[in-house]
């Protein structure tokens, strides 16, 4: 039998060391390794083996920092070789499951690149470098621990990559300070395209966010983000960089990225050299995004912690009802939980920008034709406590040319009472339950009744009178057991009928009611007669209608086949209940 594998994206941090000290670094004082040992490689080997034993396969292993190029030449080569060999050894299983295998990939500040150029060439290492744009701010923010500027050396290092057939790109994170110098950014992109071996069609902007204690940089407002995007568009539309503009520069918001996951904890992991596992670089060193330690926890524990923590983090700020009406939820998934919690918001911090990008590129990012359904399915997974409210109204299990049950009901006033949710209210031990047609409602309600329970039914005024001769009309009660038997010509297995009871209109009118606008019928004694005949193991079922409504239902079935095929089961208002015999308990 084929084994079932789970595929994950693994960022590995072989060293926390960094040779630079960018003024806004999210790792702050954590960019040093206290110990230099063999763990830089051993931890990755150990983790990959342990994951594989649990049928978890990293389809991508990328190296992140600290700064990976601070490793010694031999250590850097060893780890790159390990990843290259891993891809070779696991190529079939990874590619057979729909993932592409690239070359070993590193995220780097490009400052020490020359030290490892031989290994980069040998293994065709894919490089993703970080720069600040414009260059003037790079010089200000991206400095060494000795307070030296870095741009000139980085540009020289990029030159070393000329002629190397590897993938090489840069990215830049944009804050308010960068946005304020957008004209410079545009010029610097043109400079990089013209004067370096970088293909600037393969470039990324990232939109910066700030934490409360951030002193150096400020985040753009959502309006500024959109303005930034529009100005960049204006500058590069109809140029040789238009492909990048449309496809890669803002790819952070596309389905290829982590923010497109319902629950990124199911797929994305960051492993540190000490074995600690976090969600990603954003969640690194944060307890809310810590999944465990590969040396101390089982893979099952780590995977469970991951999906639980991300689920909980998404739930902290709840769901924004505006996202319900946005036809891009299927791509956005409300954004990164880490940033949502920092900003105390419940939608993506780049919401307006994303909408603008999607609108401008309709062919790549079409609106969701099944948005109502997508919203429900997303909420059912990530916010189940509120998903009921978003249950899709359009339910189609029939061919397009057949009217739906909802349409048939809408066009027939008499049918509407059969399916109305405000004509019967059941009161069990002081708790009221509005009864709905079991065909219309989207959930099974199961309540608990004991032999001591007090049960009464409220019937809305006018329901019993909605006929030519109200005195001939009656409340019609059907009690079914949770146990099933085979019935009739169909030989269909159904819940067993236990009792049918009718109470005529004038009898009901004589009873006192404590609810304005409703008649009241005491059911406690009636139901007690049958408790011993009910199922103990399965929920039993009780239906309420009127004889007039019931007759009309069968009349409609006889006359309308479309109605009949959609009402195979009893359509009347019901509630399921478990019976508890307290004496037995």
């Amino acid at each position: 039998m084929d084994r079932e594998y789970k595929f994950i994206h693994l960022l590995y941090v072989p060293t926390m060391n960094c040779n630079m000290q960018c003024k806004y670094c999210y790792l702050k004082e954590n960019t040093v390794d206290l110990e230099q040992d063999e763990k830089y490689l051993k931890t990755l080997e150990y983790a990959v083996e342990k994951f594989k034993e649990a049928n978890v396969i990293p389809f991508n292993i990328s190296l992140h920092g600290g700064e990976v190029t601070t490793l010694s030449k031999i250590d850097f080569r060893n780890i790159i070789k390990y990843i290259a060999d891993y891809y070779d050894d696991n190529r079939k299983i990874i590619e057979d499951n729909g993932f592409k295998i690239g070359a070993p990939h590193i995220k780097t500040n490009l400052f020490n690149l020359e030290k490892h150029i031989d290994t980069i060439k040998e293994f065709n290492v894919s490089i993703s470098g970080s720069l600040d744009l414009p260059f003037s701010l790079h010089e200000e923010y991206r400095i060494t621990k000795g307070n030296q500027k870095t741009l000139s050396r980085i540009l020289n290092n990029i030159k070393l990559l000329e002629g190397v057939p590897n993938k090489k790109k840069v990215s830049a994170t944009i804050f308010k300070e960068h946005y304020d110098k957008i004209e410079e950014i545009i010029e610097d992109i043109k400079f990089l395209e013209k004067n370096t071996c970088l293909d600037m069609n393969d470039f990324n902007f990232m939109i910066g966010f700030v934490t409360e204690d951030e002193q150096i940089l400020h985040a753009m407002t959502q309006e500024e983000q959109v303005d930034f995007y529009n100005k960049i568009n204006k500058a590069f539309e109809n140029t040789s960089l238009e492909y990048g503009l449309k496809n890669t520069w803002f790819a952070e918001f596309t389905p290829a990225y982590c923010t497109n996951c319902d629950n990124c904890g199911e797929k994305f992991f960051l492993l540190e050299r000490n074995g600690d596992i976090y969600s990603c670089v954003r969640g690194q060193k944060n307890e809310d995004y810590y999944y465990g330690n590969i040396y101390n926890n089982s893979v099952e524990e780590i995977l469970n912690n991951a999906k639980i923590k991300i689920y909980q983090n998404h739930n902290k700020m709840g769901f924004n009802d505006e996202c319900n009406n946005c036809k891009y939820l299927y791509m956005c998934k409300t954004g990164c939980p880490y940033v949502k919690n920092i900003y105390k918001i419940n939608q993506s911090y780049t919401c307006k920008l994303q909408q603008q990008i999607y609108r401008d590129n309709k062919e790549i990012y079409p609106t969701d034709e099944n948005n109502e359904e997508s919203v429900y399915l997303y909420l059912n997974k990530m916010h189940p406590s509120i998903s009921k409210k978003y249950y899709p109204k359009l339910k189609g299990n029939i061919e397009e040319n057949i009217p739906s049950l909802a349409e048939i009901i809408q066009n027939d006033n008499k049918l509407q009472n059969i399916y109305s949710s405000d004509i019967f209210i059941l009161d069990i031990d002081g708790k009221e339950y509005k009864l709905e047609s079991q065909i219309i409602k989207s959930e099974r309600d199961i309540v608990y009744i004991t032999d001591d329970s007090k049960v009464k039914l409220y019937i809305k005024h006018g329901i019993l009178e909605d006929c030519e001769y109200p005195q001939n009309n009656s409340l019609y009660i059907m009690l079914l057991s949770g146990d099933t038997i085979k019935y009739g010509d169909e030989q269909r297995v159904k819940q067993e009928h236990v009792m049918t009871h009718q109470i005529y209109t004038n009898t009901i009118k004589k009873e006192k009611s404590n609810k304005e606008g409703f008649y009241c019928v005491e059911l406690t004694d009636l139901l007690r007669l049958y408790y011993s005949k009910l199922s103990i193991d399965n929920p039993n079922n009780i239906f309420f209608t009127t004889s007039e409504i019931r007759d009309y239902h069968y009349y409609k079935q006889k006359n309308n086949a479309y109605y009949h095929i959609q009402t195979i089961n009893l359509p009347f208002q019901n509630i399921e209940f478990c019976y508890i015999d307290l004496k037995e308990e």
Binding site: N304, N380, K381, S442, D445, I446, D489
Partner: protein, 116 residues
């Protein structure tokens, strides 16, 4: 379970927790106890479970604890359990696909005249 139910409400609460075990294969004794105790804390406590996770939600809607769960059947998408009872949400199937949607009418009741 460690504690024997003493009141009617305790028995009902315990029965509700047993109902959960019919829908998930991995509700351990510890989990069962924690769910039972959590529901006893407040009438507003709720248990919300989908096909991956079971959460204890307090009266303010805050997720207090979450467990990974494994469903024992494909028939449902979600279960809510609170003071009022249990709601089981049948599996919803896409209306863009050809199979049936999830209404609550899956329990084979009949409207045939032979059972009138």
């Amino acid at each position: 379970m460690d504690k024997k139910p003493k009141t009617y409400n305790d028995i009902i609460r315990m029965k509700k927790c047993y109902m959960l075990t019919k829908y998930y294969t991995n509700i351990t004794e510890n989990m069962f106890d924690e769910i039972y105790q959590f529901l006893a804390k407040s009438e507003k406590s709720t248990v919300v479970a989908n096909r991956n996770m079971l959460s204890l939600v307090d009266g303010r809607g805050k997720v207090v604890k979450t467990y990974p769960v494994t469903p024992s059947t494909t028939s449902f998408d979600r279960i809510n359990l609170d003071e009022r009872g249990i709601s089981v949400i049948p599996h919803y199937t896409s209306y863009s696909s050809s199979s049936s949607s999830g209404s609550s009418s899956n329990n084979n009741n009949n409207n045939n005249n032979n059972n009138r």
